[in-house]
Subunit: 254 residues, 2 copies
DNA sequence: AAAGGAAGATGATTTGAATCATTTTCTTTG
DNA sequence: CAAAGAAAATGATTCAAATCATCTTCCTTT
């Protein structure tokens, strides 16, 4: 009975911690510490105004922020947490298009093109995300050339990444693609304090959807990479043991 | 001897015709008949100015307009002719990223991102292409919001296409991808006067590079599609016999 | 603490497409 | 026109990765 209470207490505590982490107070854009590649061009007044009008929301791990095909009525700016953007193929198979973290914006492209959202955004860990109305963003783009230029540059860089990914998937082996996925995760989310553990947790299936392969093949390939001492697997955590070799192995020098 | 002369004459004539086709006089931007998704926002004065400063060039089929990795110092606007944009994979295999025809602009993305050209542009038939200096384009973007917005929209639409292509290559069979390539060619270049022959001529190898497969597989797959009476092959020319069925066959309903 | 379900792991089998090899057909050019 | 080279076609073989099937481990929930 005593043990049971301890047990319960422990769980309540875990939940409390999780809640606490999520239900942070949202700072206004004025003192948002994230580096943001688009909104950084705003003046203090503009920031204050956006901040006044914006909304925000909490998303637990696994929750969907918006769906591919949904009508787009604004843009999302990640205040904290990590997000995956996926698209569905004709047969329903998921493909990760990119990952995003705090400071990054989602769904801005649809505002520019006037389309509906082109991908589904899902929280891969608990998130706090602000929402800026379509009208506000369009107004900003029209009045602040800096914001417009930054948006264009972001688009251009997303496009470059998409095309590079295209070539990878078209031409590289599964092993190389899985390595690329690991490297992408490293570049996007970096390491934990130990300097070698990737600071994300994905299921094997999610990694498979990133590399464009199946779960089974991903499991086998990760095991192989572990055998080769390039990475180390502890549960869902991936440590990169030899970044240089890993990078070498995914060029064709292999 | 007489016959030989006729023969020579015939060949000279063919060459002359080819030359004539290429060495057209370039109209100024003011009376350029191409519909252009970016420059259409320019005023008459702006057009006149761009026209005064722009250059132009002739490219024979097979010639390269610019190379991936080259420093970008301006943007190309296709006046006539057809172009393929390709990227090289790490192992040197080519991948067609997109096709472009008269009215479309090439290399603008590099100006926006400040990178070097991200793809190689090659004339797939004789071309006349104008060249606008980087400085001029940047000036336009800064002073004409319409041009800026149009550029953004173009970027956004290129990005959407790239991501869709990514999913296709990642998830679809070779047959489906080849059909998609044929459909892409149809959408980009349309039909000849007969309303069924694709108005482009590509080698099997080029189709393979578009679909992300090998030449042999492309040949076999085209033959199969021909057997199924979906297309018809006469030399390098492809006729689409049943557009509806073809579209159906490349969704997974297959 | 136990049950149930999800995720991970592993083996066996199949298969689509690449690769290699050769032949045939077109195109170009001296 | 004939030779040479490129592109297309076809067959045989190999192989990487998907699929199918089963089992284990981990996590959640009651």
């Amino acid at each position: 009975m005593f043990l049971f209470n301890i047990f319960n207490l422990y769980h309540s505590f875990k939940k409390y911690k999780a809640m606490k982490k999520v239900k942070n107070i949202i700072p206004s854009c004025l003192d948002c510490q994230n580096k943001n590649k688009v909104f950084c061009a705003m003046s203090t007044e503009e920031k204050a105004e956006v901040s006044r009008e914006k909304g925000h929301n909490f998303y637990k791990k696994g929750q969907t922020i918006f769906y591919e095909g949904n009508h787009s009525n604004g843009l999302y700016c990640i205040h904290s947490g990590k997000v995956s953007l996926t698209k569905l193929g004709d047969d329903g198979k998921r493909q990760v298009v990119r990952f995003a973290k705090e400071g990054e914006i989602l769904g801005y492209r649809s505002l520019i093109s006037g389309d509906s959202y082109q991908a589904t955004a899902t929280a891969i860990e608990d998130c706090t995300i602000c929402f800026v109305q379509k009208e506000k963003f369009n107004e900003l783009i029209a009045t602040n050339a800096g914001v417009a230029v930054n948006s264009m540059q972001l688009l251009a860089s997303d496009l470059r990444n998409a095309e590079n990914k295209l070539i990878s998937i078209a031409q590289k082996s599964v092993k190389e693609r899985i390595i690329e996925s690991i490297l992408l995760l490293q570049e996007t989310f970096g390491f934990e304090n130990d300097g070698e553990t990737l600071d994300v947790t994905l299921s094997r299936a999610e990694i498979a959807d990133t590399a464009g392969t199946t779960t089974e093949t991903t499991i086998r390939t990760l095991a192989k990479l572990s055998d080769e001492n390039l990475i180390n697997l502890v549960g869902k955590k991936i440590k990169i043991l030899n970044l240089g070799e890993l990078k070498k192995a995914c060029s064709v020098l292999d």
